[in-house]
């Protein structure tokens, strides 16, 4: 559990991730803004409070793993990794350019700190299960964190994985579902309504928590609670807003991947800079 000061620090880190993600996308002029902005607070809690890792040794064998099955949210993860020192901040301006180390979708062989290659939805679930199963097999205490999109839940492979996780008692892997209620073509309920998510995961044998995915305290507490659950898998369903903190994207349907006019993100960038400054002033 984080104390007041730590919570402010994590919130400041979230503001910083949001700020740097917006700068990346503004520099590029387009990108997967929606699903990047909705996972920022979770990234902040993981990389500033919960995970064991060493930026100087990205493949440290005692680290915890973060596998982002929704590979298109790379820009937010790259901002978090750069801010934590996995690679120079200057790389953020190379997003999606030829020869970059930061491709649109996560690549374990290109980017220091990216633990798994993802981009074909559903596949990150299975590889995360494999990593976690191998740690259990070897009696190791490394943890694995998995981020799945809500639209991604359309993929059958996710539910193969859910069945496997429960049957094989994979309890060292914590799933997050970024429940931002939109996917590429619009609202998830309009494209292929997934019904009662909580009931679905419960029926698959999961320990389920549904929380505010933009509240760092709620996320941190939920991770602590999930860690205490053994012999069954845990999922934390994050109620989020797709494009949160980007006025050009928030509330827009669809907002999965959008282009920006020059200067369009300047106001948001200024807002998150001042949010960050205000939080830092409290520390």
């Amino acid at each position: 559990m984080l104390n007041e000061k730590e919570l402010i620090r994590v919130k400041a880190f979230a503001a910083q991730i949001r700020l740097e993600t917006l700068k990346e996308l503004a520099h590029l002029g387009f990108g997967h803004v929606g699903g990047a902005m909705s996972i920022v607070e979770t990234l902040a809690v993981l990389y500033d409070a919960q995970m064991k890792y060493d930026p100087k040794d990205p493949r440290w064998d005692r680290r915890d793993w973060y596998i982002q099955s929704k590979g298109h949210a790379g820009p937010a993860t790259y901002a978090a990794l750069a801010l934590k020192g996995f690679f120079p901040m200057s790389w953020l301006n190379t997003l999606n350019q030829g020869g970059t180390r930061l491709p649109s979708h996560c690549d374990r062989n290109l980017t220091p700190g990216i633990d798994m290659t993802t981009g074909s939805l559903g596949q990150g679930v299975s590889v995360a299960l494999g990593v976690a199963a191998a740690f259990k097999m070897d009696g190791k205490d490394n943890r694995v964190y998995l981020m799945v999109g809500d639209g991604e839940l359309n993929e059958g492979q996710v539910w193969e994985g859910a069945m496997f996780a429960s049957a094989k008692k994979i309890d060292n892997l914590i799933w997050f579902v970024d429940w931002n209620k939109q996917q590429l073509d619009g609202n998830t309920k309009d494209v292929c309504d997934m019904g009662d998510l909580k009931a679905k995961f419960e029926a698959f044998g999961f320990n389920v928590q549904v929380i505010n995915g933009h509240c760092v305290k709620a996320i941190d507490d939920a991770i602590d609670a999930a860690k205490a659950v053994t012999d069954k898998p845990s999922v934390i369903i994050l109620e989020t807003i797709k494009g949160y903190g980007c006025s050009a994207a928030e509330g827009v349907v669809p907002n999965h991947h959008i282009a920006f006019k020059a200067g369009q993100l300047d106001g948001d960038i200024a807002r998150w800079q001042s949010e960050y400054d205000a939080l830092m002033a409290q520390l």
Partner: protein, 321 residues
Amino acid sequence: MSAIVKTEFEKAPVEMRNILCAALVEQSKTNPAIVAMDADTLGSSGFKPFRKAFPDRYINCGIQEANMIGVAAGMSAVGKIPFVHSFGPFVSRRVYDQVFLSCAYSKLNVKIIGSDPGVTAAYNGGTHMPFEDMGILRVCPTITLVEPSDPVQLENILPQIIDTYGTVYIRLMRKNPFSVYEQGSTFEIGKAALLRPGKDVTIIASGILVAEALKAAATLANEGIDARVFDSFTWKPIDAAAIAAAASETGAIVTCENHNIIGGLGGAVCEVVCSTNPCPVERVGIPDIFGEVGTEPWLRERFKLTAAEIVEKTRKAVSRK
């Protein structure tokens, strides 16, 4: 590499799956990284002795091939060497994207066993009869594709498969093949095994067609056609040097595969021949049609996977020189 061919081909006394499992158990005694998985196919894979010897290193995933391939990829990312099994169609065409992205593109280390190739699926029929598995997988960069033709060869190449970092697909006859090689034969992944020297034409065969190719070569010798014979058990990387030399030195090639002639061994050989030393190539195999149900001997005749057909196609290739 030194292949010693038997003088007569009889059914091997031990099933290929039992050879594979015994070799895997042996290797696993000194290699703790090896794990094995099935997709509800333990009764078919032959992995029961592995599960008995290493119960903590075996997972039956249930009927979920896509997840199994991904789980294997994830395990290999933390140092395991997973061997996963299901029937050929279900660990090739059904999971191509998982093999492509989670395994090969991610540069991970997964060994995939696809059993019952082509007509050896017999009573399971057209739905289960992979004439396309190698063709589908051949267009995945970096993958290694092998089709061991007999127990001696399988046992000999297994340690190489374990040591070859990367995604490997093993097209495995499960049951008793015709035994082709004497004990002591050795093979090298990526190199076609020369089984018979010859100067008039080259027959390049794989799997159940190797024994047929050798029988055909003996018949052709009586007609004065001196055929060179290779067992091209590695389909990828294909042995381009041996093929280019054969094209140049013998001037005609016949390929023999228990697979669609499009995209498979015949296709791979044609690609090499066209870009090195163009010469006539005839292909024995499945002429782009679906499989059917039946006994293996009936299906071999039905799809002309026979020594007689190889003789016929070889005569034609020689006539086109």
